[in-house]
Symmetry: C2
Subunit: 315 residues, 2 copies
Amino acid sequence: MTNIPQFQDVESAYNRIHQYIHFTPVLSSSAINQIAGCEIFFKCENFQKVGAFKFRGACNAVFSLTDQQASKGVGTHSSGNHAAALALAAQIRAIDAYIVMPENAPEIKKMAVKGYGGKITFCKPTLQAREDTLDAILKSTGAIMVHPYNQNEVIAGQGTCALELLQQCDCLDAIVAPVGGGGLLSGTSMTAKYLNPEIEVIAAEPEGADDAFRSFQKGERIPVTSTNTIADGLLTSLGELTWTIIRKNVDRIYTCTDPDIIEAMWLIWERMKIVVEPSAAVALAIILKHKNVFKGKRVGVILTGGNVDLGKLPF
Amino acid sequence: MTNIPQFQDVESAYNRIHQYIHFTPVLSSSAINQIAGCEIFFKCENFQKVGAFKFRGACNAVFSLTDQQASKGVGTHSSGNHAAALALAAQIRAIDAYIVMPENAPEIKKMAVKGYGGKITFCKPTLQAREDTLDAILKSTGAIMVHPYNQNEVIAGQGTCALELLQQCDCLDAIVAPVGGGGLLSGTSMTAKYLNPEIEVIAAEPEGADDAFRSFQKGERIPVTSTNTIADGLLTSLGELTWTIIRKNVDRIYTCTDPDIIEAMWLIWERMKIVVEPSAAVALAIILKHKNVFKGKRVGVILTGGNVDLGKLPF
């Protein structure tokens, strides 16, 4: 990999996107601190635009394009937060966003993308169908692909979240972020280690989609072949680029079960009075499962998003 | 009524309690503003200690006592947020809190009071039993009664919420607060009208407990005899003291149905990613029901609390 994003790319991203993103608050809960036995600083990306950190990366990718590149629009395939994020970023830049979604995507996600003016094309719910459909659209429109995680501009954009968090809370001993495709984790780890080489960067992953954990153990990238977890934002496997950054900058990866995730999610809703999605609760879940590791420390946690179907809650 | 709380009492209350309470944030949602057709500033008392504005009034009452008065403790009967609020305020002052609760109170409320060190006495679930039980305890202990709403110190304490809101947002055209016993509404209306006589103060009440609406229409206080609403924080009727303040300072009262409340609650959870209880959603519900009244205005809304049983949500 010749071209890996650096901290300077995160700074450039922040200068590029700060006028479009929310500077999200950091919240704490004395009740949760007491239960966890450490001091936790929750970076609330559930309050970010489109309800997830994904807007940072999508926004950086869209605003990194030259006017000429941008003029043909952007495209991606996604059934999740990245789709809405890219649609909104494109809407702000007043260009087209072509979003390929599996026909069985949740109605609520389709509505979100439509609401931001995204042009949706539905396809069969297979990776092959998604990639083929998107390829055809990119060819016919000249739109530029924005990958949900395995792309420099996206990683640098996600890194701005840790940049803010470390401004908001100095002297963190550790920072915990969930990992799916690794866009957030790679951006977070690279940013955090640059600003404070002493900080521990710890990844949180559901057992039902633990490719990062297994890749880390083996020392080589092992994509998941099947997944089974309530954390629907963490189903994808690491990309080549995110893996390269993560293996260099992440200290440890812990996993947890779905019941752990649901318990942590309940705790955040009940004690902090905020809505977070299952994927966002994975970080607290691993802290509660490994209290000895975090005991007495100051721990930053990225609450990645708050997009849940309120009609289908796990409690 | 010879002794009605004045704005100066709210200022004194604020000086007395500000070190114990959270200075809660004001949040806005462009999505909700678009739906409502006005600009809404939500004062987030769901983030207040014990999860509700009630902590302000209880805290002011407890810290208004002389050391000698306080030494015997405080007492109240309540099955709701006031019980937890009084228990915590007493715990901070290191005095006893005697809480009379109906034996059928929700387990989650009992746990909260116990968690703050409150001494609970259970009684039959009737007003008579609650009052008799509390009277006996006050007599035997010498503890001082803190009323949930019909008491100067409590009203002045609740007024500090509007005091903060009007510091945080200038040029509000209107302020909307829900009404049950009227502690919050009386404190809010008196404070808001003192600071800005031009501001409209509007009350929001569930149809199933609409004594304030009917009292306002008739020009005299008409307590409710039976109630039926999901907004379990708004079941009580106005007191003599709160009614005296409200009839002088409140411009209008609107009512709404339980489906209106649930719709507004859903909207707040989904779009703002915060947890509010049904009683807190009543203010947004009446705004959405009377869009013409609020069109284009800057409206402050007090989100009163966030204590819901997550296992028993209405959606």
